[in-house]
């Protein structure tokens, strides 16, 4: 495939364009996704290309936005419903967890809900407590829903396409702070299956499982660790539901040490689930406790000095990984 550098948001946008061109059943609704192309430019150009039947601005009404998607999906269309900031999920949660995710099961399989929800999460922009959250642990706890968290331009494109093609409700969580990050992206339409982790770099001494933007920090950390003689393997699960635990456990059995990094608060974060599964499946291989590096148990603070202390970064990943390696 012909590959060139694109930003994360442009890669996502290209995926949207290509899948909408391919499949006339795909439509997009959300607040300011049409005329304005979305507040993060995620949907630039879609209105012009596909017209106002397929690309629609909505009132501020997240329950109706998601619910409309649920109903349209149950009728066989492939809606993309945008939630703008992940933090707004609280006003639409019922439609996500009680309706979209459960419909198939509680109806005994009578219906499929090929709905895609797009949203943006993550801290680091001084957007404060209600515009900076990472709530993937909630979503991963919902049977029937899939949850993708692209951590590169390549994945931003491949996962939105994979999500839209999937016959289940999927939420794709972009990271706000990664919008301008560049990386290689094939020109053609491609999709990444949901549930397959990405081994970002291989290593022998410690496994670092990183979620979303933390993949970038973990990759930087792995480089620094390498220079210090520690060989780190970085794994990006790509989707936290389904979670590709096999890839993680295989790595754990090789390195015997696992560090999990995410932006969400540590208590009850997805790291807890990963940690539990690793020690359930690789108990006899572990030379040190599976360790988590995540946000402290507080809302996201506004002041940059606090927010920088709040979100994990490469330096703290290096320190935590070193501690793990030194323990044994």
């Amino acid at each position: 495939m012909n590959t060139r550098e694109l930003t994360y948001v442009k890669a996502f946008n290209e995926g949207m364009h290509q899948i909408m061109a391919e499949d006339p059943d795909v439509f997009l609704i959300g607040e300011d996704v049409a005329g304005y192309g979305g507040v993060f430019h995620m949907f630039d150009g879609l209105l012009t290309t596909f017209g106002d039947k397929r690309v629609k601005d909505t009132p501020i009404a997240e329950q109706a936005i998601i619910g409309l998607g649920v109903g349209a999906a149950a009728r066989g269309l492939r809606p993309v419903c945008d939630l703008m900031f992940m933090d707004f999920i609280g006003v639409a949660m019922d439609q996500i967890f009680n309706q979209a995710a459960k419909m198939k099961y509680m109806f005994g399989g009578a219906v499929s809900v090929p709905l895609t929800i797009t949203t943006a999460g993550g801290a680091g922009m001084s957007a404060a407590a209600q515009h900076s959250q990472s709530l993937e642990a909630w979503l991963a706890h919902i049977p029937g829903l899939k949850v993708a968290m692209p951590a590169s331009p390549y994945d931003a494109k491949g996962l939105i396409v994979g999500a839209i093609r999937d016959d289940n409700p999927v939420i794709v969580v972009l990271n706000k702070k990664m919008l301008g990050v560049k990386g290689p992206v094939p020109e053609e339409l491609y999709s990444i299956p949901l549930g397959v982790a990405n081994i970002v770099c291989e290593g022998d001494d410690v496994t670092i499982v990183a979620i979303g933007r933390m993949v970038i920090e973990a990759t930087k950390a792995a480089q620094a660790l390498g220079e210090q003689g520690i060989s780190a393997e970085v794994i990006d699960p790509r989707t936290v539901q389904p979670l590709d635990i096999d890839t993680i456990v295989t790595s754990a059995k090789k390195t015997n040490r696992v560090l999990i990094v995410h932006e969400a608060v540590q208590f009850g974060g997805i790291g807890a689930e990963i940690s539990s599964q690793v020690q359930e499946s690789a108990f006899d291989y572990l030379d040190a406790p599976v360790t988590r590096l995540a946000a402290p148990f507080a809302p996201v603070p506004y002041a940059p000095i606090l927010e920088n202390a709040y979100v994990p970064d490469a330096a703290r990943i290096v320190a935590a990984a070193r501690q793990l390696v030194e323990r044994s």
């Binding site: 109706a64 409309l68 269309l77 439609q95 309706q99 198939k104 099961y105 109806f107």
Partner: protein, 340 residues
């Protein structure tokens, strides 16, 4: 309480709505209503005797609403329903066998025993599901209407909900969005005067919920929810409007539930005046239709008795079918969580 009606809001069906009623229509509406009532009375007793699991929100008393609306819908038209959903399912054409089987939690049920009373679904009949969350089905209905508009297939959607549900956010958001996009959808508020045990006067400061239509710039209609022909007439106007691309209508059907919020037993606390209950029963929808039918010479008491008899047979057959159907296998518990 309001004294004047909001703009766009009208009372009752168009004049002469009952003219041109045919024998077929009378028997059709009667059959739908009788099937609802008899199904529910059986089901209620089976649960209270301990024979069937779960709990039931019975629709008895409100039959004219489901029957009237469904009589102007086709299988391709979609509905969403509520916790009180048997009536909608049956009026939309759902069959007794998979309904009873579902209540019994059997594999032959509409949801293979996974859903029970509050999740009855029948995709072949355009019954997009009961819903145990108040207001939960309303956004889904506008999605079905969106799909109809998107495909231009000429179908419509209808969402049923109670008086209490019109106070929840999902109602407001959905009606507004449907109005903005002229979605082909009917919002049917079955105003039975109570949200559980709370009277309308204690949960809103309006007499006529249809007035809420005005907040969305769409028509609102108040109709006698005990008169299936009247309900049918206003629903027809709304369906025609929707099909012309003119958008949604909010219909408020004034009706009443005969049993308690849940189950058939008496009420734990007498939140309704027995005289009120009796007054509504005086205007019973099934009897009203029988009177109209016989007075106009369109049907005879024997016709109606035949419908009852047939329904009784169907119920007995369905209960027998349900009871003898296989239980789900716990080994399959993870099936159908995802489409694979």
């Amino acid at each position: 309480m309001t004294e004047t009606l909001a703009p766009n809001v009208t009372y009752g069906p168009p004049e002469g709505y009952a003219a041109g009623v045919t024998r077929e229509l009378v028997l059709d509406l009667h059959r739908r209503m009788v099937r609802i009532r008899m199904f529910e009375e059986s089901a209620g007793k089976l649960v209270e005797s301990g024979d069937m699991p779960g709990f039931l929100h019975l629709y008895v008393g409100q039959e004219a609403v489901a029957a009237g609306v469904m009589s102007v819908l086709d299988d391709v038209d979609q509905i969403t329903s509520t916790h009180r959903g048997h009536g909608h399912a049956i009026a939309k054409g759902a069959e007794f066998r998979p309904m009873f089987a579902e209540l019994y939690g059997k594999t032959t049920g509409y949801c293979k025993g996974r859903g029970g009373s509050m999740h009855i679904v029948d995709m072949n009949r355009g019954m997009l599901g009961a819903n145990a969350i108040v207001g939960g089905g309303i956004p889904i209905a506008i999605g079905a209407a969106f799909a109809a508009q998107y495909r231009g297939d000429g179908s419509v959607a209808a969402s049923f909900f109670g008086d209490g549900a019109t106070n929840i956010g999902a109602f407001h958001e959905s009606v507004n969005m449907a109005a903005v996009w002229d979605l082909p959808v009917l919002f049917i508020c079955e105003n039975n005067g109570y949200a559980e045990f709370t009277a309308q006067g204690n949960h809103m400061r309006l007499d006529d919920i249809a007035e809420r239509a005005n907040s969305y710039g769409i028509p609102g209609v108040v109709v006698d929810g005990m008169d299936a022909l009247a309900v049918r007439a206003v629903a027809k106007v709304a369906v025609d409007r929707a099909k012309r691309g003119e958008g949604p209508t909010l219909i408020e059907a004034k009706t009443y539930r005969y049993f308690d919020h849940q189950g058939i037993k008496g009420m734990r606390i007498p939140y309704r005046d027995p005289a009120e209950v009796e007054a509504w029963k005086e205007r019973d929808a099934i009897r009203l239709l029988e009177v109209i039918g016989t007075e106009r010479g369109l049907a005879t008491p024997e016709d109606f008795a035949a419908i009852l008899a047939q329904t009784e047979t169907d119920i007995a057959d369905a209960i027998e079918f349900a009871r003898s159907s296989p239980d789900p296998d716990p080994a399959d518990i993870l099936d159908d969580v995802y489409t694979v």
